[in-house]
Structure formats: C-alpha cells, structure tokens
C-alpha cells in the first residue's frame, strides 16, 4: 500500500513538472501582453516595473492606429453579418432538400474555402481584384472573406438545422404558416445558439486575419488593426515595443469582450440545442 502511494507521488511529480512547463509556455506571452503595455520601458522580457499609461497616451496621438480600429470594425462586421445571413439561408435549403451530389458539393466547397483564404490563392486573388478594380478598397477584403468563410459556415449551420426535426416546420405549416414564417418563427429561434457561435467564429477570424488585407489594401489609412501593427517599427526595422504592446492589448479586447458577452447570454454548446 505504502509502496503504491509512493510511486503515485513520484509519477505525479513528473506529471506536474511537465504540466507546469507547458502552462508556462502558454502563459508567458499572455503575461507579457498584460504587463508590457503598462510599463514605462517595455522590453521583450516579462518584467514588472512602475505602472504608467504613457504607452496609451502615445498611441492615441497616432491617427493611423485609431483609424485602423474603424477599418477593422467595418471589415469584420460586414463580413460577419453577410456570411451569417447568407450561409443561414443556404444551409437551410441544403438541409431540407436532398439531391444527388449534395454532400459532394458541400465537401468540395469546404475544401476550396480553405484554399481561398490561404496562401495558395494569394496571387490569383490579387489579380482578380486588380482586374475588378477593387484593390485598395474594403470591398476587396470583404469579398475574399465572404468567399472564404461561407462554405465552412454553411457546413456547420447545416448541421444545426439537420438536428432540428422536420416535424416542427410541418406542424407550423399545417397550423397556418407559410414556409418562410416556419423558418423565421420556428427554425431560427431554435438554432439561435448556432448562429451566434458561427458569427463569433467569423468575427474572430476576420478580425485576426493579416494576409488578405495586407495584400489587397494599399493605403495606410485603410489598414485594419492586424496590418496597422506593422507600422510600429522604427526606420531601422526595430519594433517600438511600448506602443506595440499597448496596441496589441487593445486589439485583443473586442474579441475577448464579445466572447464574454455571448458566453453569458447563450452559453457555448456545439449542438442543435433541442430538448424533447
């Protein structure tokens, strides 16, 4: 008995050591993100100095940095809203009708979507936007985001709709609804949770996306935050760590706040959310 306990403790020691190292590995960057913006002399090390708001004062004087937030909101919100609404309608149609090649179509779309927002399609997307005269406009970035996220979001929302028995709509239809009333009054409220999860997923991804806006936008005053961060370098290419860290903190706030609000209101569950 004693022997067994000893081995357990000994085993646990190694387990804890490994876990501790792993936790440290993940927590250090976060710690830096919280501490560095408030230190007067920010460096790459996690060092607690006298707290100051100097970095933020500097930052708010920078017009491009502030404008970038507006740009990010425009791009992310419009992509999120458009993708959520269109994929909701498309997913409903795909969920409730059955035709040959339906799943093939869905998987093909899913496969291509990973390509669209990826590096592989960088050159063709640039050329396409150039020909359309969309380079250096919000629209170019929004279009690429829509194309990239639509299939994934159709795929996931379709799963939500599949989990809702057809009987609900049929009951609504027999009770006197039109099919669209059945959708908006019954199906939509029942899949609300899924919609919110999808919307948040798209918002987080577009908010954090660097590559596409970097390629498609030319003028500095149209840069979203993810790209504008790269303006915080000296002529010599050295990062202005104080500004950079303060900006990074502000940059991550909207996503965190949205996450908290949504979690409070809906809770995160990745299922159809139907109780019998």
């Amino acid at each position: 008995m004693m022997f067994k306990q000893r081995t357990n403790l000994w085993n646990n020691f190694w387990v804890y050591l490994i876990l501790f190292t792993l936790v440290l590995f993940f927590i250090l960057p976060m710690l830096w993100l919280v501490i560095a913006p408030f230190s007067s002399k920010a460096s790459l090390a996690v060092k607690i100095t006298l707290p100051s708001l100097n970095n933020f004062r500097e930052l708010f004087k920078n017009k491009i940095a502030i404008l970038a937030f507006k740009n990010s909101f425009i791009i992310s919100f419009s992509s999120t809203i458009i993708v959520t609404i269109t994929s909701m309608l498309a997913a409903y149609a795909l969920s409730r009708t059955n035709f040959k090649w339906r799943s093939t179509l869905l998987y093909a779309l899913l496969l291509f979507s990973t390509v669209v927002t990826g590096i592989a399609a960088m050159v063709p997307l640039f050329v396409l936007n150039l020909r359309l005269g969309l380079i250096d406009s919000y629209l170019s970035v929004i279009f690429v985001f829509i194309g990239g996220f639509l299939p994934v979001s159709i795929f996931i929302i379709k799963d939500f709709f599949d989990a809702i028995p057809k009987d609900y709509e049929e009951a609504a239809i027999v009770a006197g609804s039109t099919p669209s009333q059945g959708f908006f009054r019954i199906i939509l409220p029942l899949s609300q949770q899924g919609m919110v999860v999808i919307a948040l997923y798209i918002f987080m991804n577009t908010w954090g996306s660097f590559l596409m806006p970097f390629i498609l936008l030319r003028s500095v005053n149209k840069y979203p935050v993810s790209v504008a961060i790269y303006t915080f370098f000296t002529q010599e290419g050295l990062p202005l760590l104080g500004l950079l860290s303060a900006y990074s903190l502000l940059y991550s706030l909207p996503v965190i706040v949205l996450y908290i609000i949504i979690n409070r209101k809906f809770g995160f569950g990745f299922h159809g959310g139907l109780k019998g």
Binding site: P165, D167, Y168, E170, A171, A172, I173, V174, A175, G176, S177, T178, Q181, R185, I186, P189, L190, L274, K275, G276
Partner: protein, 364 residues
C-alpha cells in the same frame, strides 16, 4: 357530402409506390382510422390530406372542395404529430395560440380561446411552462389543443398515443374519443395498433402496401374480413389460417390438412359451386370459435397436444399442436390444463372462413 374524399390517389417516392390508386370517403363527424403495418402508406395518406405531400395523380376533396392547388395553410387542418412537435422555445400558451397568432386574430380573442381550450383539456396551470417541463401525457394534450384552437375542418392524428406508456394510453384513448364526439369534428386517425383502431373508430380502413384491403366498422372487419390480410391483421391473437385441400366425397365433404381431416358436410353447399375438388384453399377460424374438450366425445373433433398455455386473467390462450400445425384457442372458462396434455378441439363450422389460395380473397 363527405368531409374528406380520396379519388384514385397515387403517391410515389421515386420508384416506391407509397399509396396506390386509393379511394375512400370519410363521413361528417366520423372518426375514421387508417390501420396497417409500418410502410403500408397510412402516414403518407394522412400527409396527403394535410398537403405535406402532393399526389402524382388522383383527387383529394376536403368538405367537397378539391384541394389540389391549396397550400397546407389554406386547408384549415388540425394535426397532431406522433412526437407532438410542440415548439420547444415557446410556452404552452404560445404553442396553443400559434395557429391564431399566425392568422393575425385579435389579442383578446386569442386569450379567450386559448384559456377556454386549456380549461377543456385540463392544462390551465401549465400555460406558462415550456414543453420540456411537462409530462408526455400533458404534451399530448397541448398538441391536441394546438390542433383544436383554429376549429379545423378535419383533425389528423398521426399515431398520437404511441409515445405514451400503456396505462396512460388507454386513458388518453377514451379522452380523445370523447372529445372528438363532443366536438363533432371529423377525424382521421393513423395507427398500426389494431386494438386502438377497434376501440376508437367509427370505421376503419385497413391498408397494406399502399392498397386499401377493406373499409368497414370495427365489427364488420372483425366478423367478416374480406381477405386473408385483414383476417390475419385484426384480432389478438389473430385468426388461425391454415392451408388445406377440399375433397367432395359421396357422403361427406372434408378439408384435408394432411395432419388431420375436418368434416365440413354441413356447409358443403356454400362451397360446392365456388371451389373445385382437390383445390387448395386457406381455412380460417378465430381462436374463440374453437372449443376444447377433455375427452374424445364428438365425432368431428381434432386431437392435439397442449403446446403453451397463457393465462391472461379473464381469458386463457392455448396453443395446441396437431402434428406440425399449431392452432390458437381462446377460452374463457379458466381450463385446468397444462403443457403436454392431450385435448380435443371442436371447431364451430358456422364461424369458418374460407379464402382463395392465389389472391387471398374470401369465398365464404
């Protein structure tokens, strides 16, 4: 005028014919049941009336009006689904009120009607609860309320009792029948449970493979099944159905079951013109039309061995083995017999049914 009428209606799903050229009429105020095994087309028939399916050919009439071009919402139908399909995000009040709200009825009227129906269905105290907070029996009543509230032309019930446990089912069954008779609204009821169909219906249509096998009152389909399918489907335990050949001799007519012979001289005249000598036919006899005897006293009794005895309280079901054939007997006298006993069976010749072998149609 009939409240619902089908005229040569056919519905196919791809190559599968779900409903095959069926016609029937449902009278005003009647409780009409579509009965059959799963996959017989009964639910499809119901969905055709609701407008949830469109037939390939034929006409459907509701209150004398051809509904071919009417959307479900314009047919004014109250339907109760097998799983009730109560909207999970609405409370009981909103569920019952849904058909009125969607038709934009005045608030005051909605409130009045819903409260009245809730009172009628004894669900008043549940109005603010969500469907998942009430019991199965209560859910069933709410679903009934939602179907009633719009005062429909016709009620459609798709196995509404199958999700309830046995005790509650009997209770709900009588409640439903009483309610339907009180409201005098025509109702079409779908079930695979022949006992439920017998208990509830004014008339029953028995379906098999998309075809109507017989339409009649519960008594008619029990006493005079028109074909082997109905004979075997109605009744629990079902009718004994055995193959045999007929032999007309000089002085007596017998049915030859290979394991035993049965003298049917008293009813030979009924068969003489319809069945040829040596023709193979199907012989049918209800379990309660066979009497058991403990001694070989009557000349035309059949000797057998007791295979299984099921004592069900008021009645006893006895499976009797004769060679490799089994006859089921229903007895109401609490017989003192056990497995392995030898007994004699006496068949009531006036209750014998004879069917054609090739198409299963009735001869007598």
């Amino acid at each position: 005028m009939h409240d619902v009428a089908f005229e040569k209606v056919t519905k196919k799903f791809g190559k599968v014919v779900a409903v095959n050229n069926i016609s029937f009429q449902v009278n005003k105020g009647e409780l009409f049941t579509l009965l059959g095994p799963s996959g017989c087309g009964k639910t499809t028939t119901l969905r055709l009336i609701a407008g949830l399916e469109i037939p390939q050919s034929g006409n459907i009439y509701i209150k004398g009006k051809n509904v071919e071009k009417l959307l479900p919402k314009d047919r004014n139908i109250g339907m109760v689904f097998q799983n009730y399909a109560l909207f999970p995000h609405m409370n009981v009040f909103d569920n019952i009120a849904y058909p009125l709200k969607i038709r934009k009825q005045p608030q005051k009227e909605i409130l009045h009607k819903v409260t009245e129906i809730a009172k009628n269905l004894q669900t008043e105290e549940l109005l603010s609860r969500k469907p998942n907070q009430i019991s199965g029996g209560q859910q069933q009543r709410v679903a009934l309320g939602r179907a009633m509230v719009q005062e429909p032309n016709v009620f459609l019930f798709d196995e509404p009792l199958s999700n309830l446990d046995a005790k509650l089912r009997t209770e709900a069954r009588s409640f439903l029948k009483h309610l339907q008779k009180e409201m005098k609204t025509t109702a079409i009821y779908v079930t695979h449970d022949q006992k439920e169909a017998m208990a509830l219906s004014d008339r029953i249509a028995i379906l098999d493979k998309g075809v109507i096998m017989q339409v009649g009152t519960p008594k008619e389909v029990y006493k005079n099944p028109e074909n082997v399918f109905v004979a075997g489907f109605i009744g629990d335990p079902p009718m004994n159905l055995l193959d045999c050949s007929i032999k007309y001799n000089q002085n007596k007519t017998v049915l030859d079951f290979l394991q035993f012979k049965l003298n049917i001289s008293p009813i030979r005249d009924l068969l003489r013109e319809k069945v040829n000598n040596e023709e193979v036919i199907i012989f049918g006899i209800r379990p309660e039309d066979i009497k058991i005897e403990y001694k070989d006293v009557s000349p035309n009794s059949i000797k057998g061995e007791v295979f299984v005895v099921e004592r069900l309280g008021p009645e006893t079901i006895i499976h009797v083995k004769i060679g490799n054939l089994i006859l089921i007997v229903r007895d109401f006298s609490e017989p003192n017999i056990n497995m392995g006993d030898t007994i004699w069976l006496k068949i009531d010749l006036n209750s014998v049914h004879i069917y054609k072998k090739e198409d299963g149609k009735i001869i007598i």
